[in-house]
């Protein structure tokens, strides 16, 4: 046990790899939040009147709301007035080629290993990089435009496709949905916008990389993805943040709309700064993600690998409105040191013959607390609905916790709903078995954890799966005794 403890100590000291700060001149508005700040953000982004009105409506609704505290996480009070709600790299001129991107920012993305450079574009990934709050450069756009696919920053979409934005924004996550969604609706800075026209299968994975850089800024990005009839798209999202001592708030909103026969696959690898090993600093990741299968035979898949953030609190959900629509949720959440995660999904079955699958894998190590919270609701008219949920927890060490709170609400007799959960630890015998075959303890643990998460990883696009596996290794190294 003592060698194991030593290993834990050693490896727990592994520094957060992505903890560097880029010195770019930034345009940050003063801290604080009031209607003038909302107006300022809107005017900085030269938004049309209706969007400003929408923001103000959200802001007024937010003022009347109370911060929720039912979730199974503990964190200090958030100072909403001590945060700056907008930070943009100061260079304002429109970028046409990657060479024009600020070299400092380029270097940051290089360190992150984002394929933003020309040669990496050949790896068939179109990237919309969000640096703090403004989309820096969107690659591969022209090629996508040929197919009629719109992939741009949210602000550009507001300028170039206001009718689409106006029609869909807030249609899945209303501005009054919850405290953090309302806050986001009031002050959102930027994000990604995707529109796939009828019958088009997006030929490449679309990707956004989020990074919080400036101090004391919250990141409030907003993503809107619309797949029209028969369209399909796979979207990747990755997140990192530099090391900071204080906590930073990240309250994003993601809305997905799948029309008849459309498929949307949304994958996230979240690696925000988790705080140090005493639990100091780190990101508060309070995100509202929801998709609606509007048309018949549509499908939405959420896949997430959550290894970062000091507190994660999110429930990517599916509203299965169309008949025969499918919702899927695959998740791996890792909490180490003092990290806390309260995550899961909601599957709301409204249409007939709707199906949903939930596979959630929680891994807790150190003093990490991991909660799965999910709801499966079968409406009165959702005949022949089918749900299968499985949530497994793996505990590494005896000071961590794993919690499961599934909510099942069934209003139709033909529904078949199953929920299973299990909790286990990595067995001494499993490690012994591997070690006796010449596999080092560390590798044995990695192997067992990978096996534990396999069902989720195989849902990830190839490049992401590799990265996720690596991240998992880093997050858990040496945490087994």
């Amino acid at each position: 046990m003592s060698t194991a403890t030593k290993q834990i100590e050693e490896l727990a000291n592994t520094e957060y790899k992505y903890g560097f700060v880029t010195d770019t001149e930034q345009d940050i508005i003063p801290v604080g939040l009031n209607e003038d700040v909302v107006r300022l953000i809107s005017s900085k982004k030269r938004e049309p009147e209706w969007l400003l009105e929408w923001r103000l409506k959200a802001f007024r609704a937010w003022l009347k709301m109370e911060e929720p505290h039912w979730q199974n996480v503990k964190y200090g009070p958030i100072d909403y007035q001590g945060t700056s709600y907008y930070a943009a790299p100061k260079e304002k001129k429109k970028l046409n080629s990657l060479d024009e991107v600020d070299p400092e920012i380029r270097a940051t993305f290089d360190k992150l290993g984002i394929p933003i450079e020309e040669q990496k574009l050949l790896s068939n990934v179109a990237v919309d990089a969000v640096f703090d709050s403004v989309s820096v450069a969107t690659t591969f756009r022209s090629k996508l435009a040929e197919l009629g696919i719109i992939f741009c920053s949210f602000s550009e979409a507001v300028k170039d496709h206001p009718e689409l934005v106006k029609q869909y924004v807030g249609s899945v996550v209303p501005h009054t949905d919850n405290y953090f969604a309302a806050l986001n609706s009031a002050v959102f800075s930027d994000g990604s916008f995707v529109y796939i026209p009828k019958g088009v299968k997006c030929p490449m994975e679309l990707s956004t990389y989020f990074r919080i850089n400036a101090q004391n800024t919250g990141q409030f990005e907003r993503t809107l993805i619309i797949a029209d009839e028969g369209a399909s798209v796979s979207y990747l999202e990755g997140c990192t943040a530099p090391k900071r001592d204080e906590h930073q708030l990240h309250a994003a909103v993601v809305e997905l709309i799948a029309h008849t026969g459309a498929t949307i696959k949304y994958s996230t690898v979240q690696n925000w700064y988790p705080g140090d090993k005493q639990g100091k600093g780190g990101i508060y990741n309070f995100v509202t993600k929801r998709g609606i299968c509007k048309g018949d035979r549509s499908k939405i898949t959420w896949t997430q690998v959550e290894t970062g953030s000091s507190v994660t609190w999110k429930y990517p959900s599916c509203i299965l409105q169309g008949n025969d629509s499918i919702g899927e949720f695959y998740s791996v959440a890792v909490t180490n040191n003092f990290q806390q995660a309260d995550t899961g999904t909601k599957m709301i079955h409204l249409g007939k013959n709707t199906r949903s699958t939930i596979v959630s894998k929680g891994i807790s190590a150190g003093r990490g607390q991991n909660t799965y919270r999910g709801a499966v609701r079968i409406g009165k008219n959702a005949s022949n609905a089918r749900n299968y949920s499985q949530c497994d927890s793996l505990l590494i060490g005896d000071r961590c916790g794993a919690h499961t709170f599934p909510y099942l609400e069934i209003k139709n007799t033909t529904a078949k709903v199953e929920h299973e959960a299990s909790t286990s630890k990595i067995g001494e015998d499993q490690i012994f078995y591997c070690e006796s075959r010449g596999i080092a303890k560390e590798d044995a643990i990695n192997m067992i954890v990978s096996g534990f998460c396999k069902e989720v990883f195989r849902e990830l696009p190839m490049e992401f799966a590799v990265e996720a596996q690596k991240l998992l290794g880093i997050s858990l190294e040496g945490s087994v005794g």
Partner: protein, 423 residues
């Protein structure tokens, strides 16, 4: 109210503390997580007056559910009714007293345990019950006593047609290495409106084995709130089996704390929710110490416009290693207008544990129905047979044959009622 004044100081203190607590929190509302699906406004709004004394049909009700061969303790409107009880075959090692008398006479264990096993902070209705702390029954089993005769507590409530409230209370203290089987039956006059707010506290000593059965067959217009809390010491074994077919709104809170190493518990239940009934069961299992095991199966049958809630919490405390906890919740929906909310909750703070929970909701297997009908059974007979089998796993835990027979009979009567409602 004369008796209230005579109560010893410690009883009065507990009563006042509970009254203060209830005054602070009041009736729960649906904004509270534990009461999200159960609206108790009908109880709060009705302002039921406290029942005083007995009512006309009390004795016939008590005899209607009598279990032959057992000791009988009658509680009428929350008061111990010695005259309607049958303690003639009192076994060795058992002491039974009305709580009021026991408290006054200073019987062992009462001051130590009464209104102390549950937490009034988290159970508003138990606080309300304790604010009326006065009478009920106390059963004390001596260390090492193996009680062969089952003890049957019959709890009847009524006000001769007028709506009343009663707050019955049971305290069981089982000494080290003792063994006892206790049943409680709740019954009222058909279609009477009343509010029964019961509390049972069970203290299971080291190595003791206690079986506790609950049969809830209240009036279909009654409001039934019951709270069973048990503390189990090292190597103690506690099993709770609950059967519910009655009341308009039922809320059961069953909490078991495994406070010593090697303790074991079973927490099973079957409920039948039909008509516009609301059946809410909240169970809580606290694995506070290592090497404890628990098994939990709750099964629900829903018909008509009924609503059921199952909330099963398992907490494995830090260092409660080698815990083995298994929870299963199954529900059969027989009608599209019925709703089930099933919320299992696992909170685990130790790593070397085995914890599983499963929840499944479905309907009767059409193939099985066809098979039985092809062999000459009517659709209703086939259905009842399958439902009986569905409940069988829990019924099998009943270790008092006479009681089992009675509960099964009531189960089928209730199923017939359901046909009348849904046909």
């Amino acid at each position: 109210m004369e008796t209230l004044v005579q109560a010893p100081a410690w009883v009065r203190e507990r009563r006042e503390a509970a009254a203060k607590r209830f005054a602070d929190v009041g009736f729960p509302n649906t904004r509270q997580e534990d009461w999200r699906f159960t609206n108790v406004a009908p109880i709060a709004d009705a302002k039921f007056p406290l029942a005083s004394g007995s009512f006309a049909q009390a004795s016939s009700l008590i005899f209607s559910v009598a279990v032959p061969g057992s000791l009988r303790l009658a509680i009428v409107n929350g008061q111990f009714a010695a005259g309607l009880s049958d303690l003639s075959a009192m076994p060795k090692g058992v002491r039974i007293a009305g709580i009021r008398d026991g408290a006054r006479d200073g019987s062992d264990g009462l001051e130590q345990h009464l209104a102390k096993v549950f937490n009034i902070e988290t159970h508003p209705f138990a606080a309300l019950n304790a604010s009326h702390l006065d009478d009920g029954v106390a059963i004390v089993i001596a260390s090492g006593a193996v009680v062969e005769t089952p003890i049957h507590i019959v709890i009847v409530t009524g006000g001769d047609g007028k709506p009343v409230a009663a707050h019955p209370r049971v305290l069981v203290v089982a000494g080290a290495n003792s063994q006892v089987r206790i049943a409680q039956t709740f019954v009222g006059v058909k279609d009477d409106v009343y509010f029964n707010n019961a509390v049972a506290e069970v203290v299971v000593g080291e190595g003791a084995i206690v079986d506790y059965y609950t049969d809830q067959r209240e009036s279909e217009q009654a409001f039934h709130i019951a709270n069973i809390q048990a503390h189990v010491a090292a190597k103690g074994v506690f099993a709770s089996h609950a059967f519910s077919t009655g009341a308009k709104i039922q809320r059961h809170d069953i909490g078991i704390a495994l406070n010593g190493e090697g303790a074991d518990c079973t927490m099973n239940g079957v409920y039948l929710a039909d008509g516009e009934r609301l059946m809410d069961t909240h169970t809580s299992l606290d694995h506070a110490m290592p090497h404890c095991t628990s098994h939990e199966i709750y099964k629900g049958i829903l018909a008509g416009k009924a609503k059921a809630v199952f909330n099963g919490r398992i907490i494995v405390r830090i260092d409660a290693q080698k815990t083995d906890a298994k929870q299963t919740n199954r529900a059969l929906l027989l009608s599209d207008d019925a709703t089930i909310n099933s919320n299992p909750q696992l909170e685990i703070f130790a790593d070397d544990v085995k914890c599983t929970h499963g929840a499944a909701v479905g309907q009767l297997d059409e193939e099985a129905m066809f098979y039985l009908q092809a062999r000459g059974l009517t659709r209703i007979e086939a259905r009842d047979m399958l439902l009986h089998a569905f409940a069988g796993e829990v019924l099998d835990g009943l270790k008092i044959p006479e009681l089992r027979e009675q509960i099964e009979k009531n189960f089928f009567t209730a199923l017939a009622r359901d046909i009348a409602v849904t046909a």
